[in-house]
Symmetry: C2
Subunit: 216 residues, 2 copies
DNA sequence: GTCAACTTGAACATCAATGTTCAGGTTACG
DNA sequence: CGTAACCTGAACATTGATGTTCAAGTTGAC
């Protein structure tokens, strides 16, 4: 009854931690990666995709999956962590200084897909992860957009007649809508960034002011 | 083994049909109404609320619910039908002629909550109702908004540089977002109609044009 | 080449939700 | 009133998903 070491149990080697793949064998690392890829995809499509579906999509036995992720919640959490890291990377690479309108346009172009994925996974996590975790991720993604909008309002280039919170909601909402329309084939993916930006720049313009033809 | 008449089986008396409550006793009618009310509320909050939850929210035994609705799908379908009727009533009472900007403002004010409810229920129905039913309801709600937008584009008051389909998406998306923000306490319900309209009028304005201060 | 790490399908226990049945209690309605 | 319609909780069968165990096979690492 010797314990197989594929699951340490003490957490020091669990797959969902950063650098968790350190001491593992090459095929194990490969599988963990496949599972995360598949889970990210499946969960973005359907928030309550079954573990069996994810395993199948990853080309891996269900038992193998449970070998790396003790529970469904563990898996979802790992995917959430991973997606957030990707999101952070994309946003860190974006210049958010200068004219707020240009900054917003750059931000949208660089991150509308990944932010949408983050939010999809987050929605999938809503049921099985603690609220504080949800909240933390949520706040983090909101912060950058809020900063740009606040600066734009202060500079007088964004409207001041609606709650800041609502404008942030508007930005995210339209990014998600565009992502979904793209996934459904109702919107050309290559055109999405332009469409989102154009809509947002207009939506954020103060009444009485002319809508910028392009981010100045 | 006499069959109880509370469920006809032949469909001619099933609760989910229009006028279904004709021959039933007063308490039965009352319960059916309570169940539909509760289901509408629960499904809007959580797309896969359990039948037990709905029965409890309706103040009714689970068996009673199954007495009136053979399956969960039947119930969902009944709620969908009912919500669509309410939506139609609200929209029929709205004047959609005249200046497209005013028409849109009126439409938003009259229907943002109900349209959001319709869509929530529709999402709940996504899994258990046939696609053609989903599609039918969806198309129907889209039609009115599309007509106004098309007219506005033709009149030159709405932008022409983005796909019409996207503008329709934008309108619905922002109505839903506002409804959710309202439900979550992030947006004042009394202010919602103004906020949505103001955002939409700006979003629909062509680049280079001044955003209308108010619907003219 | 050898051994431990890893994978795998089958089988099993568990749990929650859906429907169904039953036996008896209420209530509307004539 | 009296009866048929209705409501109810408890109990049961069923289904689908989550985890777990096992015995045997495969593969990476040294």
């Amino acid at each position: 009854m010797a314990a197989t070491p594929r699951d340490a149990g003490d957490g020091s080697r669990s797959a969902q931690r950063p650098g968790a793949q350190a001491g593992r064998r090459a095929d194990a690392r490969r599988n963990i990666r496949s599972i995360l890829d598949a889970a990210q995809l499946c969960l973005a499509r359907d928030a309550d995709a079954s573990v069996a579906d994810i395993a199948k999509a990853a080309g891996v036995g269900r038992v193998t999956l449970y070998g790396h992720f003790k529970t469904r919640a563990d898996l979802v959490n790992a995917v959430l962590t991973r997606t957030m890291e990707q999101s952070d990377a994309a946003l860190d690479a974006t210049d958010t200084t200068g004219d707020p309108r240009q900054a917003l346009t750059r931000l949208v172009g660089a991150s509308w897909q990944i932010v949408h994925q983050l939010h999809s996974v987050l929605r999938a996590a809503q049921r099985e992860l603690p609220p504080e975790r949800i909240r933390a991720v949520h706040d983090r993604t909101l912060h950058r957009v809020r900063a740009i909008i606040a600066r734009g309002r202060h500079d007088g280039v964004f409207r001041d007649d609606l709650p800041e919170r609502w404008l942030v909601t508007t930005v995210f909402t339209l990014m998600h809508a565009a992502a979904e329309d793209t996934a459904a084939g109702r919107l050309d993916a290559d055109d999405a960034a332009r469409v989102i930006s154009a809509t947002l720049l207009a939506a954020l313009t103060a009444p009485g002011t002319a809508v910028p033809t392009q981010a100045p």
